[in-house]
Symmetry: C2
Subunit: 315 residues, 2 copies
């Protein structure tokens, strides 16, 4: 049942023992909105815990309360389970282990499964953390520095630090209020952007292997098994490829084992989820991926043929 923001707040106020959860493979918004809400509810005297069935990236250890996030390992009962930043799927063991009198779901994904007893869904918001900010204001809850830091991180990560198309005047005004509460934008961004020296060196190596194909409409980084093994991470590589002038489809292919290659794709125009599906993978129109169980050079050829075909159809 869709409820109002005020009823969402009242639903929280009525409960005493509250478990907050969010999707597996948690991102800045899942973690930031969970921690932001936790701080407010704790201030109100509630018994609150956060259970997420996955590892929490250490990048987010700068967020106050990070260390309080737990994995569900044993049965728990509570008055209210609050599900953030997803529908009732992708919760891992939480659904099995948490027994709650009711479920409140707060989300900004249009794809929400509408399965929760109480649902506040606003797909116009850049982040679930933006909705939590609105909830604070609706209920007259002040932004503590702890809550503000978590919520700012949730907003900033989901809108690419105010660069993506989902950034609205409301997004920025709420972020301004969080800064006024004492959040240091540079501390957050520096912590989230920090890279090891080794990673920067790997990126330099990878960038030197960038190939332009299909008259510059396709660009790719192709890392053979040796290069892949030499790198601790390939995070951010494809975003560099994506920004090259004239490039529609950016691909990253890494050879993990002799006959196992992983592919990531990003695009400006072409539907890369179709390409990924044709190769046994999946994803979104502008970001998709697949796994190719074949040797490096065969995988590269297979991938590039599929991309060229898609680009041709899209012409």
């Amino acid at each position: 049942m869709h409820i109002s923001l005020r009823d969402t707040g009242n639903c929280l106020l009525r409960a005493q023992k509250i478990v907050i959860t969010a999707h597996i493979n948690p991102d800045g918004d899942a973690i930031g909105s969970s921690l932001g809400l936790m701080h407010a509810l704790q201030y109100l005297g509630k018994d609150v815990s956060i259970l997420i069935d996955d590892d929490i990236p250490v990048t987010f250890s700068i967020l106050p309360g990070y260390e309080l996030i737990e994995k569900p390992v044993k049965p728990v009962s509570c008055d209210l389970l609050v599900v953030l930043d997803t529908g009732l799927e992708r919760l891992g063991q939480v659904r099995e282990l948490v027994e709650s009198k009711s479920i409140l779901n707060i989300d900004h994904h249009i794809s929400n499964d509408n399965a929760a007893e109480f649902l506040y869904l606003d797909a116009e918001r850049a982040a679930t953390a933006e909705i939590i900010c609105q909830l604070f204001k609706e209920m007259g809850w002040g932004f503590s520095l702890q809550a503000a830091t978590a919520l700012y991180t949730g907003i900033a990560t989901d809108c690419g630090f105010f660069r993506y198309s989902n950034t609205t005047p409301s997004t920025m005004c709420l972020a301004a209020e969080l800064l006024a509460a004492g959040v240091k934008p540079n501390v957050i961004s520096e912590a989230l952007e920090r890279k090891s020296y080794a990673h920067v060196q790997s990126m330099a190596t990878a960038m030197q292997t960038i190939e332009l194909l299909d008259n510059g409409r396709v660009a790719g980084v192709f890392l053979n098994q040796e290069l892949t093994a030499s790198m601790e991470s390939t995070e951010g590589f494809i975003d560099v490829v994506r920004t090259i002038n004239g490039v529609d489809v950016a691909v990253l292919l890494k050879c993990i084992e002799e006959k196992l290659c992983r592919v990531s794709m990003r695009s400006r125009y072409t539907d890369v989820s179709k390409i990924a599906v044709s190769l046994g993978g999946g994803g979104h129109i502008r970001a998709a991926g697949c796994t190719l169980r074949m040797p490096f050079l065969t995988a590269k050829q297979t991938l590039l043929s599929a991309v060229s075909r898609a680009i041709g159809e899209n012409r």
Copy 2:
């Protein structure tokens, strides 16, 4: 003479023929604040031109009015010369070729030379474009989409898309107003992030030359004359250096001519404007630069000594 924001507006209103200029090596703020102010003044019926004694990076060709920016090539007389985003230095041929009844200077650099007849300086603002936004509001000028696009770009580029420490609640609230005027944040960010294939390759080369110094607290890219000449731009290089784990001061040194090197610095803790001033340059606490008229290796040594000294004092 320092004047108020209202007097700054009145000074503009009193003039009819206005020339706007900004510093050589113009960045997004120099260009964006110039264009934003131009649009407002043109709307008010003023005869306005922008003269900047340098090439305007093609990246900014998305800004309405970009094609109207000219280089000073012949003597011009006007009622008012408006100098943006710098003091009265770094104007190239503008000082010689523009004869004006008075000079109005609007700037956000604490290092401003205080040489202008009329000066509005607010070093608390993230960008000169932020001051221009405040001027619009003070004077009751509406944000046209053209002006808003230019001013948003000025603000966003000078505060690293709201990631740097100079980003304040005011910065974000004003940016929110510009979005409300129709600015598309993703269009701006994608256009500004677009890089040529050659630039990405140059960046890869530069990143492979990164040196870690002072126990990893200083990191630098040092480009000799040959490497510098091989690169069309070094934009963004220092931001990669800046994100390396543990780095306080990031430096970029490029050798332009045999005895002419340009230095950019960014920092997390150390006041790099002090270092820059000690070497004849200027800037902000976290971002500063200077020109060293000496051979590459001497410049490198001079710079690193000054940085080490500052880091030592800051310990």
